[in-house]
């Protein structure tokens, strides 16, 4: 186990380095630069030269990269070129929004997908299973930018149950916060429900055909006990892997929903920064999100070793 952890940690360092280089290069490969946004009508050659020097963007790329990394090692992710908000502040204020979206949406997804898979896998290809499978196929085909306006039209404008936009921090008013987060969370849940349901259903059907399940049945264990105690755990491997990838993707990947519902999350800030070529914000957010993503996979892998110890041996 120790060697396994050391090996994964070293991999993590290498991946973080590669991410930092790629992030930096990709941002600088984009056409345009922040001087357009900053100078506007005064974007003359002379002013641009002065500004590039002020921002350090006249230096060779390797120099800029080392300066950026040097600052990061001193805990400074930099400031926005435009509104001078620090990247750390953007991440600190935006992270709770993304975390909340992820937590609520995943809770909803698991709350729907797991019981549904447990029920339908017992009698595959029966009417209930067919309806659930078809419905989840449909959900899979509905991206958040389609779901969100429908939810707003029906539940906000039509029924008036939820606000159309807005965000109140949980610490400020928990009830209001949850009220505002329901629709955005549901908007990104659809895809997760479909994936989780289908994976778990498929693995459960396979597990239920194993000998140890037959043995459990022969012992006279109840169906419920067999499903929850014997079938669910070995069938949740794929579910766990998919959840890890999905949750990772949702960090800053919820930008469409954040834009539509005007939630001040990391994804929203990232999109704005890309549009305005706010390099340090793009680089800082991308780097942190990527490292969190890798860390998350690391944690998921670690959980795998508990769920299935054969992973370490392999």
């Amino acid at each position: 186990m120790g060697k396994y952890l050391i090996r994964r940690t070293l991999q993590l360092v290498v991946v973080a380095f590669v991410i930092s280089v790629l992030t930096f290069l990709l941002v600088h490969l984009l056409p345009g630069d922040p001087t357009v946004s900053i100078l506007g009508t005064n974007d003359t050659a002379a002013n641009r030269a002065i500004l590039l020097k002020q921002l350090g963007l006249n230096l060779p790329l390797w120099h800029q990269y080392l300066t950026w990394m040097g600052a990061i090692f001193h805990g400074n992710l930099g400031d926005s070129y435009l509104n001078h908000e620090s990247v750390s502040h953007i991440l600190i204020t935006g992270a709770p929004v993304d975390l909340e979206l992820i937590i609520i949406s995943q809770l909803i997804a698991f709350a729907v997908a797991v019981p549904l898979a447990l029920i339908t896998s017992r009698k595959p290809n029966k009417p209930l299973d067919n309806v659930a499978t078809t419905t989840t196929f449909g959900l899979l085909a509905l991206p958040p930018f389609v779901v969100a306006p429908i939810l707003v039209a029906v539940f906000a404008v039509g029924l008036g149950w939820f606000p159309a936009t807005g965000y109140t921090p949980f610490t400020q008013n928990p009830a209001q916060n949850l009220h505002e987060m329901i629709l955005p969370s549901v908007a990104i849940t659809a895809g997760s429900i479909a994936v989780y349901y289908r994976l778990l259903r498929s693995d459960l059907i396979s597990t239920l055909q194993q000998d140890f399940i037959t043995m459990a049945r022969s012992k006279g264990l109840s169906s419920r006990r067999i499903m929850w105690r014997h079938a669910f755990r070995p069938s949740s491997f794929s579910l766990l892997a998919a959840a890890g990838i999905n949750i990772g993707a949702l960090i800053a990947g919820t930008f469409v929903v954040e834009l539509l519902f005007v939630l001040p999350g990391i994804g929203y800030a990232l999109v704005q920064a890309v549009e305005q070529r706010d390099y340090l914000v793009v680089q800082g957010i991308t780097l942190v999100v990527a490292i969190v993503y890798v860390l998350l996979q690391f944690v998921i892998d670690f959980i795998f070793t508990i769920v299935d110890p054969r992973v370490v041996r392999e």
């Binding site: 974007d43 003359t44 001040p264 800030a269």
Partner: protein, 559 residues
């Protein structure tokens, strides 16, 4: 997902151009712009009852107003932040301008009491309004105004616009003298822009000490409370505001909501009381609806309205050929485009000015004539082969619809047209460097045509690949000459003729193929009173809705 946009005002219709040697309108080229009285705090509900945006009844003090804006701003410091339509709304909340535009188009004192020129219009003396204090309690003095000027002059963003000013001095605690390099009868107009909003010395000192996002300190009707970029901005009533009895609201909050549909849904669900829009369909969806008021720029625009158009590069093939540009213009059916893009609201346009403008005359812009366009393309094809055009636009679903229609119209007369959708930042870069053939855009909203000098001047034409603000690279000495005539003349007839000539030349050169007037609108619930009916400190009417910009000072909420 976002508002349909070409070049945003955020990027290009900000300070520099606005203040670049502006001249006053309609006979207002006064050497004396004296304020006639003290502040007025109760003259809001005088206009006809039922007029959208005009308060009826006695103003009510108190309440909190939330406004949904199209986009976020980048900050509150005039020397270093871009103020587009949204920026000026924030500015009107926290600060006051030295000068403001009257409802008749004249330039009037606001934070200053008077502004007078010498006989040669190269020295302007400004007397400040007494007993005005900033939010931190400090007094408005000539020294603070000079300090503001020094920061603006030193800024890369705003310095160029003040190039004409050679010196500014405080001759006594309440008097500022501006010395200009050359006569400019319209110098005060520049002070209605970002250059004229005065911030407190403590804010300047904060910036000088290294704080790049200082807390705003102004003399304005509301005091800054908090700002979370991309989420909300809140300011509360300034209890010591120099305009007695104002503002009426206790609190004002701005929420940037980029998506039009979501902004509209938010007002319907009570999340905001008022919204701003640049989508003409907003007018269509709310006008006449019970419980809502709509104010828009279909009428009442002073000077030049913002126009939507296709910009053509006059230096690269095939659009460097005037007959090709003619064919492109003649093959566009404005009516069809307006129906799709403008919701059928925008007026037909044939140049810079609307038909009710004092500057308007028929510029001779090519009429819709697909047969003639086809003929011109055939002639070109015989000599050079089929003309290939790449039409560039930003990634926006509404604009995508429009450019597809345009593509069809151009294809029908013989062009080989491809569409390229790119990010706005990239499009702007292509404009600046001239690396485009045809591109969608909107621009030119200005109280005075002179404010657009930089876009049409021969001095800003640069080779493709170099940075130049004359984006289509249209080098026309007649335009240059008439723009300068307009700038330096205080005779209105001369100015009108000069700008009519400019308009006609643009119709001949065809660097722009006009699509329609770009409309701004404001929707408010019926509870919001007086959002389009501001008055100047003198009591005279202020220009109420300058290309989407409103003044929150005299807004009130009915019970």
């Amino acid at each position: 997902m976002t508002e349909s946009q070409g070049i945003t005002r955020r990027t290009f219709l900000s300070t520099g151009a606005k203040a670049g040697g502006a001249v006053v309108l309609a006979g207002a080229a006064g050497s004396a712009l004296a304020a006639c009285g003290s502040s007025s705090g109760s003259s809001t509900s005088t206009a006809a009852a039922g007029t959208p945006g005009v308060g009826t009844g006695t103003p009510v003090t108190g309440g909190s107003l939330t406004v949904g804006l199209v986009a976020e701003i980048d900050g509150f410091y005039p020397p270093s932040n871009h103020w587009d339509t949204n920026g000026f709304i924030y500015a009107n909340t926290l600060y006051d301008p030295l000068m403001a535009i009257g409802a008749d188009g004249t330039i009037q004192p606001y934070l200053c009491q008077s502004m007078t020129a010498n006989a040669t219009f190269d020295s302007w003396t400004m007397t400040l309004r007494p007993n005005v204090t900033f939010h931190d309690g400090s007094a408005l003095t000539a020294a603070v105004v000079v300090s503001n000027y020094n920061e603006l002059k030193a800024s890369l963003l705003t310095g160029q616009a003040l190039a004409q000013v050679t010196a500014v001095s405080a001759t006594d605690p309440m008097t500022v003298v501006y010395t200009l390099a050359a006569p400019n009868p319209g110098f005060p107009a520049g002070l209605t822009s970002q250059l004229g909003y005065v911030v407190g010395q403590s804010m300047i000192d904060s910036v000088k000490s290294g704080n790049k996002s200082p807390t705003p300190v102004g003399t304005g009707p509301f005091v800054f409370q908090n700002w979370q970029p991309n989420d909300h901005f809140t300011a509360t009533r300034n209890p010591h505001y120099w305009r007695t009895g104002l503002p009426y609201l206790d609190q004002i909050t701005f929420r940037p909501i980029p998506d039009t549909i979501q902004r509209e849904s938010t007002i319907k669900t009570g999340g905001v009381d008022m919204l701003q829009s640049t989508d003409p369909l907003t007018i269509k969806r709310f006008e006449g609806q019970s419980g809502y008021q709509v104010v828009d720029t279909r009428t009442g625009v002073l000077g030049e309205p913002t126009m939507a158009f296709i910009m053509l590069n006059t230096t690269t093939a095939p659009t460097n050929d005037i007959n090709i540009r003619k064919a492109l213009a003649m093959s566009l059916n404005q009516g069809t485009i307006q129906k799709i893009f403008g919701g059928g609201f925008a007026k037909p346009v044939n140049g810079l000015f609307l038909s009710d403008s004092p500057y308007y005359s028929d510029p001779g812009y090519p009429a819709y004539d697909p047969a003639m366009a086809k003929q011109l393309v055939s002639q070109y094809t015989a000599q050079h082969g089929q003309p290939k055009i790449t039409l560039v636009t930003i990634t926006d679903p509404r604009l995508a619809q429009v450019v597809q229609i345009i593509q069809q119209m151009w294809k029908q007369v013989g062009f080989d047209v491809s569409i390229s959708q790119i990010e706005q930042a990239n499009l702007i870069t292509e404009f600046i460097t001239g690396e485009f053939q045809a591109a969608t855009s909107y621009q030119f909203g200005a109280i005075d045509p002179d404010l657009n000098y930089v876009w049409w001047s021969t001095t800003t034409v640069k080779p493709v690949g170099s940075i130049g603000l004359n984006f289509p690279r249209n080098s026309d000495p007649v335009i240059e000459q008439n723009m300068l005539t307009g700038r330096h003349s205080s005779d209105q007839a001369t100015r009108v003729k000069a700008y009519q000539t400019v308009n006609s030349q643009l119709a001949k050169d065809l660097p722009y193929v006009w699509l329609q007037q770009y409309l701004f609108s404001e929707v408010a619930t019926s509870r919001v009173q007086n959002f389009a009916n501001p008055t100047l400190p003198s009591g005279a009417k202020q220009y109420p809705y300058d290309e989407g910009i409103f003044v929150p000072t005299q807004i009130w909420l009915s019970k």
